[in-house]
Symmetry: C2
Subunit: 276 residues, 2 copies
């Protein structure tokens, strides 16, 4: 299988390493704006070759778009040269703006995917083969993809050990705002709130596991997350407003010292873990 | 050493198990309102005996108060019978109201401690010997404790492998609001915001590591946390307001689509991890 990986960071690099674990007879070519990433990806055995010519992917069986979501939207119009058999999969965290940006000539080639995985680290050095195993991947508007492409994408994600969910792109973006994008906003805001205190070092010295968990994703890439917030703006704002409503309910209960209501509010929060 | 553990849950149970790892010649007696906890603690080898008479701790070398913070405040006036040599250590997450509640007759006996550790689990079954190792413990207003008691408390926490910090109780409560209490409010609010959506199951099915981390402490005990919010009310509200200011800054930047400012806001959040 001939594979082109566009974007050799955590997501793209890990995708290549995962493919190497499950398939023989692979030829993986990488493409990245950042030359240093290309060099590292070669050294780490993530790719067999790097290129700076997109056209060299014309006969690829699979092209993986693992760059920030704005980059995906900008790149799609430049991929119309691919063969009718090629499968193009994107790994972006937003889906509606991306599926809208796919040129009609290559709509059948395209499979919109969002693997619900990641770490706060980035770059080729952060890549590891097990990033995708056991995780969920959401495939959006799959009925608009060609038959060959649907089959190939399902097969690859399934071979990678992922659980596949199907969803409309608009529904995906609403859900992702609640389960991922808004929680990132909270973590960034928490980090900034603490850093703004008079003596953040003295405060942070006391950090236990709870704070470490809550602030971990505040380490995430600003480039990647600026794009996501931009592309999912209205769902994100709606999710933040909904969260703020709950936080203000907590404040209001504490201020009027209704400890029974506070107990009930916390007990309701506990119920999440019956589902999670 | 004769030890009395009041409260046989995660904190008290783990404290007993940690003592067993480091000292021989221990006699550990437990006390818990919940009879079932007493039975389990005996079965699990956490305590040698359970009692329902506080007075049996009169000649204890060490009494550990590992109950919710309101319980500590209520219990302190009933511990005036202890010998002048006894050390009473509380493990509560707030400190100012507790040190104010210590009767003057036993002020020298008392050492106010907050070990910055825990898990979202509770009860004797949740206890494990390694809970405290490598973690921070804050000792408050230590100059008000007697010499024997200061020495004993430092020795025990140090033998348990903890890093000891000293702080004024009021300062502790301000810091703890930012590093622990407010983050718990965020996690509870996040869980409630998601559970309130039309189809929480469909959303939660997509949860990746970020959401799992952010919602983990929403599983914490409502009883324990209602008390903490109550005792640290004004610092908690101040920390929530500060957090809300940062979240609203994010919203405002997203709404006016100033992506450069958003990038800068996220980049500032990243700096937390240079300290953490």
């Amino acid at each position: 299988m001939k594979v082109g990986i566009i974007g050799l960071g955590l997501m793209g690099g890990s995708f290549a390493l995962a493919l190497r674990r499950i398939y023989n007879d692979l030829r993986i070519v990488g493409y990245d704006h950042n030359d240093q990433h290309g060099i590292e990806a070669l050294e780490l055995g993530i790719v067999d070759k790097v290129t700076d010519e997109l056209e060299s992917f014309a006969d690829a069986d699979l092209i993986v778009l693992a760059i920030p979501v704005d980059g995906i939207v900008a790149l799609l119009p430049h991929l119309t040269f691919v063969s009718p058999e090629t499968t193009i999969v994107d790994l972006g965290s937003t889906k509606e703006r991306i599926v809208q940006a796919v040129p009609s000539e290559i709509r059948a080639n395209f499979v919109a995917a969002h693997p619900m995985t990641g770490t706060e680290r980035f770059g080729p050095q952060a890549a590891f083969a097990e990033l995708y195993r056991g995780k969920v991947v959401v495939l959006c508007n799959i009925e608009e993809s060609g038959e060959i492409q649907r089959k190939r994408a399902k097969e690859i994600f399934s071979d990678m050990g992922m659980k596949i969910f199907y969803m409309d792109a608009a529904e995906h973006d609403r859900h992702a705002a609640f389960i991922s994008h808004m929680p990132h906003a909270l973590s960034f805001a928490l980090a900034n709130a603490v850093m703004k205190q008079e003596n953040p070092r003295a405060i942070i010295a006391l950090a236990g596991g709870g704070f470490k968990d809550m602030s971990r994703i505040a380490k995430s890439s600003p480039q990647m997350w600026t794009d996501i917030f931009k592309q999912n703006k209205s769902n994100l704002i709606e999710a933040i407003e909904c969260f703020k409503g709950e936080l203000e309910r907590c404040e209001e209960i504490v201020l009027r010292e209704d400890w029974e209501a506070l107990y009930g509010w916390m007990e309701r929060a506990n119920t999440l873990h019956e589902i999670l």
